[in-house]
């Protein structure tokens, strides 16, 4: 087994294979990592409602197995739940994986002891928005939903009676439903930065729906998959060229869609930039939730953004935000968490990305893709263009 190899795999345990997504390979691999002592903890998604799962840390393989199955849940800040140096494995969408890598650069996570099991992602949906969409657009009772899937540009809900209900994602997103805004313009669908990238894209023929496509990205990726095979928890077969091509095609199509959304949401600001930002931030209640959930923020309580800012200041825009916009230019991955938790519904991710994109493009630096540290700010940005 080598870095770059691609396989299709599945759990040998019938129960996990049935309940887990795409043959249950990820669940089986995580449980085997615990059972064989490769790791001492696993982060799993505990389903606490039909549309919400939260990450929990566990050392119990049975709890890992019980968490089999997946929903397109709201992103989670996995690195919040890890103690430094813990030998841990975690399932991670691309944004989760990128956040974990950024945390590792800031000594919040030990990358050498962290196994990142990447999951393909075409976008996630906010639970509250999903409920409203089901009631008003699909005309379905949210409590009757048995599962959901994105396929061929459609968002499909399966109800408990076995019926499928599909609507084009484009149409939903035009109405403000569907995937979260930041997911719509996210162009990272396959977690190539993770130790191992897993998903159902590229699983064809008899294995369609019953297997997981796996790409090995690192030595740790080899280790965690081989561990599961040695434990008898997983079986694999080499992926064929057709599967690889289909996977790449799906990825390419998703990137095209993201590029269109990017133009829509991140179009240049018209008029006064100062007015734009003042209006956007006018209702901020200084709750600090955006910092608390930020997966790439590692400053803690004594951060520049909080130390330089005070609720007693009379500024129309708090220094808290101004410092953060600049400070996160080299690390914002656009995960959308800050927008999700903002109690006055400010599209914060949008604003962070407006600051981060030009800087990241200028330096050809994309945070969270590998352990490359950010470039220094001291470089004159105008040097080449002058």
């Amino acid at each position: 087994m080598d870095i770059g190899d691609c396989y299709v795999g599945w759990a040998t345990d019938e129960d996990i294979r049935t309940r887990g997504a795409s043959g249950g390979l990820v669940t089986a691999m995580l449980a085997a990592a615990l059972e064989k002592g490769l790791v001492e903890a696993v982060v799993v998604l505990k389903k606490l409602g039909e549309f919400e799962a939260v990450p929990i840390v566990t050392s119990d393989p049975e709890e890992v197995k019980a968490a089999a199955g997946s929903m397109h849940s709201v992103p989670i800040v996995l690195s919040r739940y890890l103690d430094y140096g813990t030998k841990v494995a975690l399932p991670a969408k691309p944004c989760d994986a990128r956040a974990t890598i950024e945390q590792a650069k800031r000594q919040q996570v030990d990358i050498d002891t962290t196994y990142i099991v990447g999951l393909n992602c075409g976008g996630t949906m906010h639970p509250a928005v999903t409920r409203k969409m089901l009631e008003t657009v699909y005309k379905l009772d949210p409590e009757e939903i048995a599962g959901e899937e994105i396929d061929k540009g459609k968002l499909i809900f399966e109800t408990k009676d076995g019926e499928e209900h599909a609507i084009k994602i484009d149409e939903l997103e035009e109405e403000g439903y569907g995937r979260r805004e930041s997911c719509q313009y996210c162009a990272v669908n396959i977690p190539t930065m993770a130790d191992i990238a897993c998903g159902n894209w590229g699983v064809v023929g008899d294995l369609a729906g019953k297997g997981t496509f796996v790409e090995i990205n690192t030595e740790k990726g080899i280790k965690i998959l081989q561990n599961a095979i040695d434990a008898g928890a997983v079986e694999i077969t080499p992926a064929d060229d057709k599967g690889k091509a289909i996977r790449a095609k799906v990825d390419g199509a998703m990137m095209k869609v993201a590029a269109a959304a990017d133009e829509k949401y991140l179009a240049p600001i018209e008029g006064s930039h100062l007015d734009y930002y003042m209006n956007a931030l006018a209702d901020c209640i200084n709750c600090g939730a955006c910092k608390a959930v930020c997966p790439v923020c590692a400053c803690g309580e004594g951060a520049k953004c909080t130390e330089f800012s005070s609720a007693a200041d009379t500024y129309k825009m708090s220094l808290f935000h101004l410092v953060r916009f600049v400070h996160l230019m080299d690390s914002c991955i656009g995960c959308g968490q800050c927008t999700d938790v903002c109690p006055v519904d400010i599209s914060l991710t949008h604003i962070y990305q407006r600051f981060a994109r030009p800087m990241q493009e200028e330096f050809e630096y994309k945070p969270g893709m590998d352990m490359t540290t950010p470039p220094f700010f001291g470089v004159d940005l105008l040097e080449e263009g002058e």
């Binding site: 606490l48 566990t58 639970p127 509250a128 109690p343 519904d345």
Partner: protein, 485 residues
């Protein structure tokens, strides 16, 4: 290495935002965002975000010494005799409140929720004063009149009001400080509310009732709602104030001021407080401390360590709210239940009334019966009857003093927590008239003393020094003061 996750509500105010509390093996906690919560879609204000830093669990004590829970309960049983007074403002579950009511009844007393307005306004108004309107209804209102500052007092209302504005609503704010989301900010004589606000049945009035609220102000607003057909919602500072009011079934109650007066008169010798810290809640902290010092027995049954647990003779420490079994009813009347299954508080009271087992089940059934529901469904607001009431004569206390320090209120204020709220606000005229300097704290003086504190220039009403942190020189929610450099 395992974690427990509790589905619960934020204890900060009567919106009762849904949240998760994560508890590690070592007992440390962290909060998480419950994005599926119908009340708040997982969004929290600063109080909720910082809950894990500010939540300090109580410890059972007798005469200042740490004791076992059972020993504290035994000591409480010996101390609580006939003539004891009981207070529960609504910081715990309906079931715990009901348990305390059973104890009070056994001593020939009632449990006081401490809301003076409820004590002096006719009972037919109480349903309207208690349960407000669904939060979704705020979003569909055509006109909203605010007698609160949502940014400071009830931050999770802001997004509802902003949504209403997007839907075409106009917003008028009547208060001490200009509210930036309002289309107009007004200072109106209460006698002219009707003519100046032009409300109708598509309007929503949002106001507040707290233990210090002048009942006449509440009556004026009830009259306004009645006359115009507008819906009215009284927010409360305590998470389950509505539920505890409903559970109390309109028994004759005293305001907190009356209770303090009766302690000072020697009529109350034993006071039992259930998750109710009078030192934090009442504006004149010195007066409250003096009064509590006159009691033979101050017994505090509480989940949270606070100022009153330091001075209580007996502290019966119960589990934090997120671990409690039972129901909470929020400002809109929505019934909420968490995943906790703790019954320490109920068990303690059960022991005191000789019913140590199965009391929770009995109380939970009673709560559901009172609410008229068989099961709790957080996505459905139960139907509440709101009977007609007659117009009332009301003469609100005049605010007029030349310069007054006014408490704004808000979750940190009502919980006695100094966070980022350690400053006062005043308008530029007051700053220049008193020759205050930028960056130099202001001195505020009352008959009781003085304090030096940071200030901020805001669009505050003339003569008002607005504070969201309790200051030692105040005598009420508004205190006459002078301002100097």
């Amino acid at each position: 290495m395992n974690e427990n996750i509790f589905t619960t509500v934020c204890p900060g105010c009567s919106i009762a935002c849904g949240m998760y509390v994560r508890e590690k093996d070592d007992g440390t906690i962290d909060i998480d965002w419950r994005k599926d919560a119908v009340v708040n879609a997982g969004k929290l204000c600063r109080f909720g975000v910082r809950l894990s830093a500010n939540l300090k669990n109580a410890t059972s004590r007798v005469d200042g010494n740490e004791v076992e829970f059972s020993d504290a309960v035994t000591a409480a049983g010996k101390a609580i005799g006939d003539g004891a007074a009981f207070v529960s403002v609504g910081n715990t579950t309906c079931e715990e409140h009901l348990a305390l009511m059973k104890l009070a009844e056994s001593k020939g007393a009632v449990v006081n929720t401490g809301m003076g307005a409820f004590a002096s306004i006719p009972a037919e108004c109480h349903p309207t004063m208690g349960v407000g309107v669904p939060l979704d209804a705020i979003e569909s209102a055509k006109k909203i009149v605010l007698f609160i500052d949502p940014y400071e007092q009830y931050p999770l209302l802001v997004r509802r009001i902003l949504a209403a504005k997007k839907n075409g609503a106009t917003v008028t704010a009547v208060g001490w400080k200009a509210v930036s989301l309002a289309d107009e900010n007004k200072t109106i004589d209460p006698a002219n509310y009707g003519s100046e606000l032009a409300l109708d049945s598509d309007s929503v009035i949002i106001a507040e009732i707290n233990p210090s609220t002048d009942p006449d102000r509440v009556m004026v607003l009830l009259n306004l709602a009645k006359a115009t057909g507008a819906a009215i919602m009284f927010m409360k500072p305590f998470v389950n104030a509505v539920g505890c009011d409903l559970a109390s079934k309109k028994t004759e109650q005293k305001s907190l001021d009356q209770i303090i007066a009766e302690i000072n008169d020697g009529k109350i010798k034993t006071l039992v407080c259930l998750d109710s810290d009078l030192i934090e809640i009442m504006p004149d902290e010195t007066a409250v401390r003096e009064a509590l010092g006159k009691l033979d027995n101050l017994i505090v049954i509480t989940s949270r360590a606070s100022a009153i647990t330091d001075v209580a003779k007996i502290v019966v420490a119960t589990e934090p709210l997120y671990k409690k079994a039972g129901t909470v009813v929020n400002a809109e009347g929505r019934v909420l239940v968490g995943s906790g299954d703790g019954t320490d508080g109920i068990d303690a009271v059960g022991t005191l009334i000789g019913q140590p087992a199965d009391l929770f089940t009995e109380l939970n059934s009673a709560v559901l019966a009172t609410l008229g529901i068989d099961v709790v469904d957080e996505r459905v607001v139960p139907a509440y009857e709101k009977p007609e009431y007659g117009a009332m004569d009301a003469n609100p206390t005049a605010d007029a003093v030349e310069t007054a320090l006014v408490y704004a209120g808000g979750p940190f204020f009502w919980n006695g927590i100094v966070d980022d709220n350690d400053f006062v606000e005043m308008n530029l005229d007051m700053v220049t008239a008193n020759s205050l300097l930028k960056g130099i704290p202001v001195k505020i003086t009352s008959d009781k003393g003085e304090v030096v504190i940071k200030y901020k220039v805001s669009d505050v009403a003339p003569g008002v020094v607005l504070s969201n942190v309790k200051l030692p020189m105040t005598t009420g929610m508004a205190t006459s003061v002078t301002v100097s450099r």
